[in-house]
């Protein structure tokens, strides 16, 4: 890190910031919530209203704060002159969505609506206690649906507002916090387990007892999909539970699969899952030659691709003819690839531990495939050496004196496993998970029964 770079950065930021002078800011426009005889009027709730240099003592008008807790039913509140109307009212306010739910957890249902006031969306909850609570819906949300679901661990029910028509945009969730009222819950930073922003296979749905996100990746066999159930902590932060595998049609939220019965497909029982990690579903075989974006942000700049002249169909590539190219944080990293069959890029960010992104290539030769792993280390894109008793790939192998099948696969969660078939009728396999340290090491997970055709696995009966 260069002190000079820090100085240059600080100077540039200071210069740009100081271009904004106080006189450049919009003029003061104070929204007024006032009462006049016979009616209430909410005036000038413009989003552009600002306050600047306004002495507190001179502030005689109420700012139309989005969260107003008007104690309309309280005897201690001075009664407004003349008949009142529900606050606020304006010609631009019309209810768009509505839900009946016990928002504040007092055991009595409240009435929640989404209203549009002069171009701004507001969630409005008329509590059973007679109070009203409101919270703004952030700019850019087009509208109008409102759903209730019990996401949090508290007594109240949450309100959920979709932000777009896209199924993979996370919704807004509003919850009731003791002492604070109705607040917008916060999602975790992008990149945490359970959600990949902007990825079209992501879905979310509100259930009666929670919020569920899942991946609608098409899966062969009986259609298992990873899903996460979310909950709220006492600070209004949404947290995912552990990943689970469920059964559903691709466009419906998955749920725990029914008990395995005789599904007519035959095959032995694979036993209980026990301590096994999620071995399946495996990543669909979609090896790519196009750039694969792995940035945590939708439309982000980080991507990985293969570059270099392609060989003739079936021909081998010379050493260095093809390169793995990773662009991260605006910087390009290159690694020449070894000679051999033309490699393919596995379009999945791997979760094999370590802090840096890991990339996987696969080469095919007849019944055999070989995987190569690359990692960005110390600003270099380097191949990862493997060590241990198995090789990183698939094919026919000699296992303890017997020729048998070995399979290596990547799951939709980015984990890499290798299994060697021990016994065909029982589907018993010896299983390893690949973990990244200084080298890539296969961790022995013991024996498991894996039925590839039925996409099922367990610790064997």
């Amino acid at each position: 890190m260069s002190t000079l770079m820090e100085d240059r950065l600080a100077a540039a930021l200071r210069a740009r910031a100081e271009q904004v002078r106080p006189e450049d800011l919009r003029p003061v426009d104070v929204p007024v919530l006032s009462l006049e005889a016979g009616r209430t009027r909410a005036a000038r709730r413009r989003r552009t209203a600002v306050l600047a240099g306004l002495a507190a003592a001179a502030c005689t008008a109420a700012v139309a704060a989005p969260l107003l807790l008007t104690d309309a039913g309280s005897e201690q509140t001075p009664a407004p002159a003349g008949p009142t109307e529900p606050l606020p009212t304006s010609s631009t306010e019309r209810p768009l969505g509505a839900a009946a739910a016990d928002v504040d957890g007092d055991g009595v249902e409240d009435a929640a609506t989404v209203v549009r006031r002069d171009g701004t969306l507001v969630i409005q909850v008329d509590l059973a206690s007679g109070d009203r609570a409101e919270a703004p819906v952030r700019a850019g949300v087009p509208g109008a649906l409102l759903t209730a679901g019990d996401v949090g661990g508290g007594p109240g029910v949450e309100l959920v507002v979709p932000v777009s028509d896209r199924a993979y945009d996370l919704p807004l969730v509003y919850t009731w916090l003791a002492g604070e009222g109705l607040v917008a819950a916060t999602w975790p930073d992008a990149g945490l387990e359970g959600w990949r922003p902007g990825v079209p296979v992501n879905r979310w749905t509100v259930l009666q007892d929670g919020l569920r996100t899942w991946e609608a990746e098409s899966v062969e066999g009986d259609g298992r999909f990873p899903y996460w159930d979310w909950s709220l902590d006492d600070r209004g932060r949404l947290r995912p539970g552990p990943v689970q595998l469920g059964c559903a049609a691709p466009e419906d939220a998955p749920a725990p699969c029914p008990d395995k019965g005789d599904d007519g497909k035959g095959g032995p029982d694979v036993g209980p899952r026990g301590d096994l990690p999620a071995l399946l579903p495996a990543l669909e075989e979609r090896w790519m030659t196009d750039p694969f974006r792995f940035d945590e942000e939708p439309g982000g700049r980080d991507h990985v691709e293969l570059q270099g002249p392609l060989p003739e169909q079936g021909a081998a590539v010379a050493a260095g003819q093809r390169e793995l190219v990773v662009t991260r944080d605006g910087v390009e990293y290159r690694a020449p690839l070894a000679a051999g069959q033309a490699p393919f890029l596995v379009p999945q960010l791997l979760a094999v531990d370590g802090d840096e992104p890991v990339f996987l290539l696969e080469r095919f030769g007849g019944d055999t495939s070989l995987l190569e792993m690359f990692v960005l280390r110390d600003a270099e894109l380097v191949p990862v050496e493997t060590s241990g008793e198995v090789f990183l790939g698939s094919g026919v192998v000699d296992h303890e004196g017997e020729m048998t099948e070995q399979r290596t696969w990547v799951t939709v969660h980015g984990q890499v496993f290798t299994a060697v078939l021990l016994d065909h009728p029982s589907r018993r396999h010896r299983l390893w998970r690949w973990d990244l340290g200084p080298t890539l090491v296969p961790t022995d997970l013991g024996v498991a029964c894996i039925d590839w055709e039925r996409e099922d696995y367990g610790r064997c009966p």
Binding site: V20, L33, L69, G330
Partner: protein, 180 residues
């Protein structure tokens, strides 16, 4: 009472705690707008972001009990709002037909000297999180702990993100200077 609005006849109203909110906001508004400009590079968008942050802030009346926490909340809202604004901008630009000319960059930077323009252009190439950490550190001059609170991340992540961001900036600047 915690921020209740008392409605009085005649059109005026006084809010318990609101005066403090207004005073706090007035004192920091310029700095918050400048922070937003450094993130979204557009004054109008920056003012919208800051206004939204203040609007949401007014609802969090308990934040008024601690001015430092209130300011951190405002900064967090501004950073999150800036990120949302940039996302909307990217979405909108994604639908621009190829034959349309990309709009010119903000005129504000045109008045800066070349060195500053190049540094800011290099900042544009960083991921949002790195930009945010670097702006909070080298303009807002927040400590690692304060940055961690604003962004809701660990201090270790602040440190590593800042380090990666500076390294990336240096590489980009070096590449820019070599190519001249």
């Amino acid at each position: 009472m915690t921020g209740d609005v008392m409605l009085v006849p005649g059109g005026g109203a006084a809010v318990d705690g609101l005066d403090d909110a207004v005073a706090l906001y007035s004192a920091h508004r310029l700095a918050l707008v400048r922070l937003a400009v450094l993130l979204v590079d557009d004054l109008q968008s920056a003012e919208d972001v800051v206004q939204d942050a203040f609007t949401g802030f007014l609802g969090r009346t308990r934040a008024l009990e601690d001015p430092d926490r209130a300011l951190a909340y405002l900064r967090t809202s501004v950073v999150n709002g800036a990120r949302s604004a940039l996302r909307r901008r990217r979405t909108a630009r994604a639908y621009v037909p190829p034959h349309e000319v990309e709009p010119e960059g903000p005129s504000g930077r045109a008045e800066l000297n070349e060195e500053h323009r190049e540094v800011l252009a290099a900042m544009d190439r960083l991921p949002a999180r790195q930009r945010e950490v670097l702006v909070l550190r080298y303009w807002s001059e927040l400590s690692e702990a304060e940055i961690a609170e604003v962004l809701g991340i660990s201090r270790g992540t602040v440190k590593s993100t800042a380090s990666r961001g500076l390294d990336a900036l240096e590489r980009i600047m070096t590449t820019t200077e070599v190519s001249r």
